[in-house]
Symmetry: C2
Subunit: 474 residues, 2 copies
Amino acid sequence: MSVSAMKKFENFSNWFDDLLLKARIVDNRFPVKGFLIYMEHGAYILDEIKKLLEAELEKAGHKKMYFPLVTSEELFGKEAEHIKGFSKEVFVINQGPGEQKLIVRPTSETIMYPMFKLWIRSHADLPLKVYQSVNVYRCETKATRALYRVREIPWNEAHTVHESPSEAEKQVKEAMEIYQSVLKSLGISYLILKRPDFDKFAGAVYSIAFDAWNPDGKVNQVATIHNLGRNFARAYEIEFEKKDGSRGTPHQTCYGFGFSRVLAAIIAQHGDDHGLVLPPTVAPTQIVIIPILFKGQEKQMHEYSVKIKDMLSPKWRVVLDDREDITPGEKFYQWELLGAPIRIEVGPREVVESSVTIARRDTLERITVRLNDLINEVARLMDAIASDLLEKSWKTLRALISDAKNVEEVKKVLRNRGIARVEWCGRIECAEKLKEEAKGEIRGERYDIAEAPVGNCAICGEKAKSVVYVARAY
Amino acid sequence: MSVSAMKKFENFSNWFDDLLLKARIVDNRFPVKGFLIYMEHGAYILDEIKKLLEAELEKAGHKKMYFPLVTSEELFGKEAEHIKGFSKEVFVINQGPGEQKLIVRPTSETIMYPMFKLWIRSHADLPLKVYQSVNVYRCETKATRALYRVREIPWNEAHTVHESPSEAEKQVKEAMEIYQSVLKSLGISYLILKRPDFDKFAGAVYSIAFDAWNPDGKVNQVATIHNLGRNFARAYEIEFEKKDGSRGTPHQTCYGFGFSRVLAAIIAQHGDDHGLVLPPTVAPTQIVIIPILFKGQEKQMHEYSVKIKDMLSPKWRVVLDDREDITPGEKFYQWELLGAPIRIEVGPREVVESSVTIARRDTLERITVRLNDLINEVARLMDAIASDLLEKSWKTLRALISDAKNVEEVKKVLRNRGIARVEWCGRIECAEKLKEEAKGEIRGERYDIAEAPVGNCAICGEKAKSVVYVARAY
């Protein structure tokens, strides 16, 4: 089947919503707008993504802490740009008479940094690197969309404080590498873009973002990294004693990784007409064993299946599906929907030959393997599935990107659910015109590699200052 | 040192608050009442307790899901007793015009059960057993108290649905055993009490609770289990098709395990004048290695310490504290404060003898062990520490309980920070009188064992109907 003929490219919304409920990822029927129930598979995958990311953060010396859900109006208001950016989308709790109003965190700068002020005394306390995996809340005015655009957002946020601007700069790079490493293990591809100034995080000096491709052509921002400079440190009066005894204001960074959007990217980038295709790292069930029972051989087949399960269980998450009330065909259908990376079929022939038949979920290819080679072969296949998913995803992303020389060409690229690569003069007027006419947003220039413009702005024809990527976005 | 001479028994509040901040468990200085920052050690221990509990819940067939933070006013109001019990202590979010008010969960019945109604069709869907580890929010009007009485409460809640009352009854027992098993691995002792009717969960048929002892004599309710009967199922219209084809209303249970209160119990029951005493299961650092450096032998000592670390790291969480700017004595002091179960000292004598000196945090005893025996000896000590902490905690609890024949005797027991065992007629008037005069609450009768009354009510002198435990409480 060619990629373009797949249901997810033809009618993404239907394909996605249908799959979410059927595969027990998310139930979107709770009667409060923008709030989801993560059912057992959704909850499982969220937790696995979280573990992968937290392990990387710990390795890089971040400390896990938990901060409150709420901040006070006073604390919330300290950084002028920040409050301007978020004030319209926060949930507010009105406490009883005599008690202050509480702001539910849309992100935790205004909660953490007053504590940083208390904790940081001298250069010996720096760098400070903390993180938490929690929900944040944003009362989005746009239409909500399960996993992509919700009001309760499960994410990880890390916040760091440094002595010098160069250390903050280095920290941005470290964060980028951490996110790259996690997304790689999930097989997800993306563009790393430095957002234009008009689209940076409220209060930041600059912001970079990871935009993952999506089958409907609307890019999916899965993570962001911000260099805050000294804006927040000044607002929250964070100071430290330098080595020479003088007082200094530190430099800060913060970065967030959206678990629900990464979950969406896993489903959207890898899924196919049969359902989920999960990378082995996060699949709740990595291997399902399905005995093809024949009358009179049930006991023998069952024992053989248990033997295989016992061989594989020390290394992988294995389910032996020995339900008797449904057919093997129905089981194949269900487990393909759930995206288990490897299916093992055991029939009478396999018992006689001391072999098993292995089916890969991603390619649907089947091979027969002798029992002696089983462990090695499964290990090899798991690696192959992970690297093939990754490669296929990057290939798709590359195919989605097209150069566009003018607004008409941008329109055409976006109509085909692509991402347009455009030269831009840097003026906000041109960005607005592009949004107006082509419905595409300037998402920014590449941060991980340098791309120099060679011609003129695709919108106004003046000399271009940067090469930027234009797409519709969630 | 005798138990009664310990600082935590003499001035619990000061001892506890001081330790929380010094051991980097919690910072209680955030300027919103009842909301804490869990610093690295507090966050670590919370997560470990969570893992222990979730593993037990999974083993018993519970599924993890995540439900929204908020419910609507309409959903919140469906069960009459429940709303009566909680309406005064919920946080309310006022959304913009045209949108409904949102209630922040004080517990999640009103959020989960509308979904259960959608998910449950027939007996084949039962039992349904789900859980989540999240924060709940209660706007307590009483004075807040770090970990014990907070407005943001990290906990685990499990909710189950069953065909018959006997299955619900069995589920209550299963929940009890799960909580017993987790608390045992943390060395915590408690009374399992069936709460009197006037103190049961709002909407429940009956409630049982785990009251852990506390050095100040105020018992610490760490977990509760509720048999909900069909009260909520009726209110939320949960029905199922029985095997015989007729319609039935299922029976429900729910149970909650308070992570912050369990963390408080670990600190309060095991801690001593030197600081935390952590059970090995949850200690962020299980073993600290401290080299006692002598001039000229630094390299040799360091290599020997690294060797020991490499031996122990595969099995335990080990830190080699080779900081050079502080003395071994200061390190001893700091690690005793942090409660690391085992300290290993390495001096010139140990290098020569191929031995180490091991100090137990709980007893402060020191022994010398040959390197050949190190792994076995550490394993033995870890087990000994865990079982000795548990035994000591139960012994303390038993010593705190005294029979009281009348109100005066109850007063005397409570004055000595004890728990009074009292015979009671069952009338609420007597409970109120006891609270009024002795400041003690009737916490309920034993649920795990049967205790029959033999005499008269300690308050009114009428014939007693049950043996109950009376204490002050958080």
